[in-house]
Subunit: 217 residues, 2 copies
Amino acid sequence: MTPTITAFERSPDGGKGLARDMRVRWALEEVGQPYNVRLVSFSEMKQPAHRALHPFGQIPTYESGDLTLFESGAIVLHIAERHTGLLPDDANSRARAIAWMFAALNTMEPPIVDREIATYLERDEAWYEQRLRVLEGRIRNRLGELSSHLGDADWLDGAFSAGDLMMVEVLLRLKDLGMLDDYPNLSTYVARGEARPAFKRAFAAQLAVFTGKQPTG
Amino acid sequence: MTPTITAFERSPDGGKGLARDMRVRWALEEVGQPYNVRLVSFSEMKQPAHRALHPFGQIPTYESGDLTLFESGAIVLHIAERHTGLLPDDANSRARAIAWMFAALNTMEPPIVDREIATYLERDEAWYEQRLRVLEGRIRNRLGELSSHLGDADWLDGAFSAGDLMMVEVLLRLKDLGMLDDYPNLSTYVARGEARPAFKRAFAAQLAVFTGKQPTG
């Protein structure tokens, strides 16, 4: 059964791989599972038909046979559990890889998204620069801790896992801001993720939605 | 093997069950797994010994035999996978219960925590009231969507699951603010969670840390 995922008809990032369908695309590419994509507009996302798949009216969703899922973390974990390549076989290593998925989504991503929301909603407010410094301080605290943990390892805990996939995806949100530049090991960690053939295929596919060009290679 | 978890030596909430060890305590009580608790001070949390267990210097952690985990979501999922009572047997229902765990942690909790951070850090700023309205608007949007999904059901997807455990825990952060009052089905949903014997045992145990009184019953 070929699963179907949903993605933005017009991605706010213009195809830079920051929309959350990218995580699911990358996971599917890592495990070699073909998939269909159904694009939804911002208005369609809030209609009852899409809300039946995703109660919060967002993307991505995942449909395979009788199963419908939402939340990119849950979808990536579901894919990782049913195929080889994204979770270690050893039970303890597997649990730690899943812990890193949660860490990416619950510890690293919220302050990063807070900063993004501020740039959308508060850019014209008198307090914007002051708050931005506070928000970036919170992000840097987390980056420092993550950098200390990673050290000179290639991945967060042994071999590449769904935990790295999610962490790289979250850190990518900081790349264009230059916020990774002070943490060389995190910069190369992200670059290592981007260099994976599965990442490249997923990235090209989501970019093609925006450019209208079919991915090559 | 009796697992050991960590919790705040002095919980910022004074024992109201909002610290993240409560989620893990509740899960362990639901499945009938005894556990030990090691209390850590705010300074100990940032020391190398605790950082070796939790790279971000927070609580809770979970240690059982050779396994150390962090992130309350990952710990609850680990417990749910290894015991009966927190995840359905049916594969699709199980995947959906896990999706609700991620929804609680990634879709519901971030705007709620944003509001809490604002009350700590921005209460004296000129912009505080204006931002608070924006933050509470974001929370209400999510509550409305969750309320629509829940309808008149007891739990989010069939029987009580780890997804409900996590969602009730997140919504509890809003209870004393009165923000659930406009959503009667969410208020009764949270009350239904609090009425579970396992919740009551966990709540009493974490409160006892603060009051110094041993839980009874």
